[in-house]
Structures are given as structure tokens and as C-alpha cells.
Symmetry: C2
Subunit: 183 residues, 2 copies
């Protein structure tokens, strides 16, 4: 290449390129392909370069936006997920002051508040018990992403039933199961 000029123009749409690197001809990706995609793109590379999300966390990400229940994700949903991941990752890194790859229960409380959710300490403690991988009250990056995805999904679903914004909703059993068991 001529000196001072890059060999190729910079990619116009890096997010689409990450997606297309793993998507098959059908333009959809599975949880396993999403995992590879987020690893290759560096999105899951925290705290160590090359880190991958667990398959479980990728399945929750697929389920977040899988309105047609195919178990796969298209490019538009991937763009939306990517934006959300950038926000969650930034928040996690901000609270993980020593870059250990984990945050404490108290920091999770602040991180959740930074997302705009106002949850009491007992509720956050219950979340910590569920998402703390080694019963040590610490939340790893992978688990933080899984809980952020699920918190967003269940909050959106609740809000759709609380149209008046009263803070409560009347929910039928079957609807409750479908809201909670599909994420």
C-alpha cells in the first residue's frame, strides 16, 4: 500500500461484520454462534483478552429479543443487543475498580441503580445469592451480563402489563409463566 494510506478503507459497519463472520446463509445466529461472535469481536474479553461468555448467558441473550421463538437472532436484534452490551460492560468496568472481573454485592446495588432500576437491598441480596457463582457474594462479568439481560427482559414484560405505570399489575398464572420461563 502507498505510504501513509491504509491498505483497505476502514470497515463501514463493524457490528454487522462481527455478525456476518459467524452467521450462515439464513442470516440468523444460534447461541453457540453468538458466543463465538462476541468472543471474536472482543465484547466478552473481560477481564482477560479472549474470554468468552458461557453458553447459558448467550442463550439468555438470544431469548431477550427472540419474539418469534426461533431460538436464533438476526442482524437487527444483534445490533440492539450490541448497544445494550456496550452499556452493561461499561457499567461493570466502572464498578470493578480493581479490574478483578468481579463486583461485590454493594456495587451490584449501585450498578443496578445506574441502569435506572430502583430495587431495595433485600431484592438485590436475593439476586446476588442467585448469580454469585461460588457462594462468595461476588458477581463475575459473565453472570452480571446474564442478570442484566434477564432484569431488562422481565422489567419490560412487567411494564407492558402495567400500562398506567402504577407500579403493580394483575397477572394471570399462564401469562406469569410465559413471562418468566421464556428468559
Amino acid at each position: 500500500p502507498q505510504q501513509g494510506y491504509p491498505a483497505y478503507p476502514p470497515p463501514a459497519d463493524p457490528v454487522a461484520q462481527h455478525f456476518q463472520a459467524v452467521a450462515g446463509a439464513d442470516g440468523q445466529i444460534s447461541a453457540e454462534e453468538l458466543r463465538r461472535c462476541l468472543s471474536q469481536s472482543g465484547m466478552s474479553a473481560y477481564p482477560r483478552p479472549g474470554d468468552s461468555f458461557s453458553l447459558e448467558t448467550c442463550r439468555v441473550m438470544i431469548a431477550l429479543l427472540d419474539t418469534d421463538h426461533t431460538g436464533t437472532m438476526g442482524l437487527n436484534e444483534f445490533r440492539e443487543l450490541w448497544r445494550a452490551l456496550e452499556g452493561w460492560k461499561g457499567t461493570f468496568q466502572q464498578f470493578d475498580r480493581d479490574s478483578s472481573g468481579t463486583i461485590e454485592a454493594a456495587e451490584l446495588h449501585d450498578a443496578i441503580r445506574a441502569f435506572g432500576y430502583n430495587l431495595s437491598r433485600p431484592t438485590v441480596e436475593a439476586i446476588v445469592s442467585r448469580y454469585s457463582r461460588y457462594s462468595n457474594r461476588q458477581i463475575m462479568f459473565d453472570d452480571f451480563i446474564a442478570l442484566s439481560v434477564r432484569l431488562r427482559a422481565v422489567s419490560e414484560r412487567f411494564r407492558a402489563r402495567d400500562r398506567e405505570g402504577q407500579g403493580y399489575a394483575t397477572i394471570y398464572y399462564e401469562d406469569f409463566i410465559s413471562m418468566t420461563m421464556s428468559i
Copy 2:
């Protein structure tokens, strides 16, 4: 040992022995210890001998009965879990007619009905999308256990809010989050 007699009397309480083989001095087990325990005891050995549950599935099992939010499980909770696992495993094996270690979406519908839950086909389809590991509409044993645990937990929690048994309940946002994000 004398011929015709076993070297030791048969164990009086095999479930407690499985538990004590992994529990520390505090009499509590973590998700990782539960995983080892269920593997050593043969409970997770399906379809192949030696199979283990995923750590994620063990975390959900801990969360099912973790009313004090310690992230660990005592012997009494372990006994309760063991009984439930025997039932779920028996149901799974019954529907997995070719012993492949997976069941189809239609079989999941029947299995869930066998537990006594009456869910519509669209709701079961949404559950299949979430719990089908390879986007192939099939449910593996490990995922079946995770979804059975969660279905039981969220159903119990819902029923506690629907005291009159009307099939619906008025739920506040914070309560909704605590019901769904702690399992």
C-alpha cells in the same frame, strides 16, 4: 469378611451419605459441591454413566430452596431436592423413549402436564425456545431439570400471591423482580 456376609451393614440413609460425602464442617454445600454430589451419587448420570449437571443447573437448584439467601444448601433442603429430582428424572426417562438424552417439544408439553401444570402450547413453545440448547427444539436432560426447578419455583411463588386460587394475582414491580430474578 465372613463368606455370605457383607463387610459392612448396608447404609441406613444413602441420601444423607451422598450429602455428607461433599459437605464441609458447616453442613452446607455450594453449587459446585452439589454438582459433585449429584454426579457421585449417580443422580445426574443420564443418559451416560458419569454425566454431571451443569454448574448453572446446580445454581438454580440451590436457589429453589435457598430461603435464607446464603447461596448454599443444608441436608433438609437436599432431601427435598432429592425427592423432586427422582420425580423429574423418572418423568424425563419415561418421555425419552429412545434413551437419547433429549425429548422433543411435544413431549415436553406432556411431561409438564404430567407434573400437574396445565400450560398452553404457545407457552410451552416459548419455554422450548429458551431451554433448547442448540436451537433444535430438543430439550436435554440437564436443561429439563433446570426448567423443572424454575417452573416449580415460579409456580409456588405465584400461588403464594394468589391465595384465593383465582388464577391471577396483583403483583408489585419490586415483588415481581424478587420472584423472578432470585431463581
